[in-house]
Structures are given as structure tokens and as C-alpha cells.
Amino acid sequence: MIWKRIIMSVLFIGLVIASIMIGSFADMNLATLRAGDENAWLVFWHSRVPRTAAIVLSAAGLSVGGLIMQAISRNKFMSPGTSGATDAAALGLLLAFIYLPTNVAITIGRLVIPAGVVQTALAFVFALVATIIFVMIINKLKIREVVYIPLLGMMYGGMIAAVSSAIAFHHEAIQMLNAFNLASFARLGHFEMIYIVTIPLIFVVFYATKFSIIGLGADFAKNLGVHYDRVVFLGLCIISLISAAVFVSVGPLPFVGLIIPNMATTIYGDNLKKSVIDLMMFGAVFVLFCDILSRLIIWPFEMNVSVTVSLLGGAIFMVYLIRGMSSGRVRQSKTA
């Protein structure tokens, strides 16, 4: 256990440094930084560090959000992306772009709210409403068949996305919608919103045991004196805030919320209290690696990070599924 943690930490730190040092501005390197080159330090603080922080935070956030979604729905194939959260966040952001000023702060009385905060808030509210409705539907239907829930979630998300498209058509904003749907850590706009992710992450660390307990079912949780509905609501708030902040600042990172919790589970188990830090690091290592890859492949240009994440993540998850099926693990989680 301790070895796994040390290896992961070394990998994490190594990739963080690599991520900061690699980029199109070649004059930023150890020598220029040491020499106190102003431009180098400017790039360091204003481009490289925020970008690496965004990668680490969005990856950690989506990994944790995915695990909580899986605990709430008691289904290993769920993630913020297959429960309507991501699509609803996109809808919220689209509406903010269409109806609200995008770059100037909004003033209500004496209160000045930066546009990024307004966009994130709208994305958050949409994501929260969407996931609450989704969880109510799956609880009402009492479906426990493993494959139906994510399928239903994907259709649900697809419907929300269709509504977004219709609205975008109507307002001639299709191009904007397409731009949202490509993730990038070099995205212009309200990049700093990613720091909001730290708030839900802190909550998760404090409520870790409760989230693990609700993963064992409502009656199980109530027997232990846990307020099931409240914890589920808190969990949905956390998932929605993470999805919204990541979507507004970076864009959709497909698969991360699905594969990272699944792979981390086989290594660390699902007791969040013990594994939450490992889970976050695991997710960060994966996305850092994907990002570095997408910057090196066609250097000095850069490929869109959702492309590498999809390719690598999809491949890994397929191998994981096939191996799981042949060892009986996947089927077991259905009938055990």
C-alpha cells in the first residue's frame, strides 16, 4: 500500500514538473528561470502554472465526482458524463453566453459578480437540477440492472444536448456550442473558475466515510444513522459544482469520471476515507500524461486534449472491461 503511494507520488510530481516545463515558448526553461528572465517568469506564472493546476484540479475533481456518482447510483458504469451533469452544464453555459454579457461583470446593486462566476453558477444550477431529476428517475424505477442505468443516463444526457443544439440553432450559436464541446487547457475565457473545484474536494475529504456508506444502500446507511437523502443531495451538489467548473474552464474531459474511479478501485478499494487522495492523484497522473502527449505529438502545435484522453482512456477502459469480463469481475459486481 505504502509503495503504491510512493510510486504514484513520484510519478505525480515528475509529471507536474514536466507539464510545467513543456510548452511552445522555448525560452522558458531552467536556465532562463534561474537567470531571473522576466519573460520566462511571466510565462511560468501566467501560463504554465495555471494550466498545470487546471489539469490537476479538473482531473482530480472528475475522478472524485465519478466515484461519488457511482456510489449514489450504486453502479460502476456511472459518471458525471452519463448522468446528465455534463450536458446540463453545457446547456447552462450556452444560455449564459446567449443571454448574459460574456466578458463584463454583472452588477446587481452594489454587488459585482464576475461573468465567469455567473456562467459557472448557471452551469452548476442546470447540472444540479438535471442530476437530481435523474437520480429520482432511477430510484423510482428501481432499476438495478447494471447496464440499464448508464444507458438511460446516456439517453438522458443526449436529450439535454439536443435541447442545447436546438437553442443554439435558434440563436445561430452552433459554432459556439461546438467550441464548448472541445476540451482544452489552453482555452481562453474564464480559466480561473477551475479553482472552484477545490471547494467540493475539501467537502469530499470531510464527508468521505458518509459517501462510502451510502454506496451500500439507503437502508444500510440509515441503519448506521446516516441521513441518506441529505448525503445524496450533498453528493449531487459536489458532482454538479465539479462538472460546472470543469466545463466552464476546460471543457468536457470524456471518460475521466468513468475510468479513473474504476481503475483506482481495483488498486485502492472504495473506502473513500483511505483512498480519496490516491484517487485524485491517479486521475491527475492520467490527465497530465494525456496532456503532455497531446502537446508533444505535433510540437510546437498542440492537439486537443479531449482527443488524447478519449483515445487513451477508451483503449484502457476497453482492456479493463475485457479483462474484467474474462476474470468474472464485471459479472460478479452484477450478481454478488
Binding site: 447494471v146 468521505a208 451500500l216 440509515k222 483511505k274
Partner: protein, 258 residues
């Protein structure tokens, strides 16, 4: 003391089909009470209502004279442990994690020395100390069942309600489980209510039997009074044959002559 006073419950809106119909019961202290009845009789719902996990429409459950709904859930969880029929578990945790969850009502997830000690005691009592670092999906049905009972023991409550703990267990494990249940009463002074499908297990290990049908308690009493054709036939809508074996009643489910 747990007293159930005239509780009714329905899963149907409007309440015309009652799952529990005016049920009253006083749980016998320091006894194994077996709850028997056909599928859908309302046994699980009654256990749920008694541990305040299932909401009722009317009536009340008194824990030491106080309505359970008026007690903080974490306080109820220190008095009553309710183990539902084990369903699918999709999350991957170790035996040790599970048993530590049992301490949640006492420590809120931050285990102190006393909590760790209770966890160790529970693991030892169920003889699964050597399995503590195994994941639940790496256990046999019998071992997993014992892990869940260990969690209930770590919860350290005077009242323990078990819903069909013999489900999925083979005969050897079932007998072992019932011996443990009985030991919990004789050695640890627990009060236990257990839903059993096999009437012979009820006859052999319970000190008190409650028979339910259609949301009502048909009759209750000592096993020798309960294991009779007069009680069992209407409870299960089935013709039983009862024989005496070494002073214990044994119930045959079918008749060779028919």
C-alpha cells in the same frame, strides 16, 4: 425495551393495500425471536419500521418508552442494528472497512482506540480476523455474511434485527450462523429478532416465534406452542406434518404418502 404499538404501513398511495395492518408487538428481551411467514407477509417491512428505517403511516415504535421518530437517528443507531437481506454490493471495500463502518454511529468515521478495539473484538467473535484485509468480493457467501454480522456487532447495540441471514448459505453455514445468533444472546445479552424461512431453524434456535401473514401477526409464543398444524397451516397456506424428535418439534414440508 422495544414496543410496537398499532403500526400500519402501505407502499401504495392512499393506503388501501396494507403491508402492515395494525401490528402490535413487544420484543422479548435477551431472546432470539424468530419472525416467520410467507413471502410478502410484511416481515422485512416490520423490521424496517422497528428500526426506523421504513416510515409508517400510523402507530408508533417505542424504544425504552420513547417514540423512535423523536430520537436522533445516530442515537437510534447506537441502540438498534438492522441488517437487511444482503443485496448486491457494487462498491469494493475490505472486511475491515465494513466492520469499521459499524462504528460510525459512535465515532462518525474518526476511529478512536475504543472503536478499533470493538472492531477487533467483532472480527474475532465472528472468527474472520484473518480475512480482514480481503475485499468483500473475494469472500464466499458464508464468509461475507459473517463479515456483515461482525459489522453489526461492532455497532455494539443491545438490539439486533437480522433479515434472512441464512439466505444463500449452505446447511453447514446456516447451522453455524444460528449457533452464533444464539451465542449472542447467551454470552453477550443481546436481544435478537431474526427473519427465518426454515421453520425448523426457528424451532431449534428461537426462544419465541412470531407468525405473520398479510401484514398481520397471526400468533406468537414459545416454539412448542407455535410449531403445530393449527398455527403453521394458516400462516403458510400449506399442510404441514409435525413430528417429535428428542423433545424438539420437527416440521415436514411434504408428506410421502401423498
Amino acid at each position: 425495551m422495544i414496543e410496537v404499538k398499532n403500526i400500519s404501513q402501505s407502499y401504495v398511495k392512499g393506503g388501501h393495500v396494507k403491508t402492515l395492518d395494525d401490528v402490535s408487538l413487544t420484543v422479548r428481551e435477551k431472546t432470539v425471536t424468530a419472525l416467520v411467514g410467507a413471502n410478502g407477509a410484511g416481515k422485512s417491512t416490520l423490521l424496517g419500521a422497528m428500526s426506523n428505517v421504513v416510515q409508517t403511516m400510523s402507530g408508533q415504535v417505542l424504544l425504552d418508552g420513547v417514540d423512535v421518530r423523536k430520537i436522533k437517528t445516530s442515537e437510534v443507531a447506537k441502540k438498534i442494528a438492522f441488517l437487511k437481506q444482503i443485496q448486491q454490493i457494487s462498491i469494493r471495500i475490505t472486511v475491515n472497512d465494513l466492520v469499521e463502518f459499524g462504528r460510525f454511529p459512535h465515532c462518525g468515521g474518526r476511529l478512536k482506540d475504543i472503536d478499533k478495539q470493538k472492531v477487533n473484538e467483532a472480527l474475532d467473535y465472528m472468527m474472520i480476523g484473518d480475512l480482514r484485509d480481503r475485499f468483500l468480493d473475494q469472500l464466499s457467501g458464508g464468509q461475507r455474511q459473517r463479515a456483515f454480522i461482525a459489522m453489526i456487532l461492532a455497532q455494539d447495540t443491545p438490539y439486533i434485527f437480522l433479515d434472512e441471514p441464512l439466505n444463500n448459505l449452505d446447511i453447514k453455514y446456516s447451522v453455524e450462523m444460528m449457533k452464533i445468533v444464539k451465542k449472542l444472546v447467551t454470552e453477550l445479552d443481546k436481544t435478537i429478532v431474526v427473519v427465518l424461512h426454515d421453520i425448523n431453524f426457528a424451532s431449534a434456535y428461537a426462544g419465541h416465534i412470531v407468525a405473520m401473514k398479510d401484514g398481520k401477526i397471526l400468533s406468537e409464543g414459545y416454539p412448542d406452542k407455535m410449531i403445530t398444524k393449527e398455527v403453521l397451516n394458516p400462516t403458510f397456506d400449506h399442510d404441514f406434518h409435525i413430528i417429535d424428535h428428542d423433545g424438539k418439534r420437527v416440521c415436514l414440508f411434504f408428506d410421502h404418502n401423498q
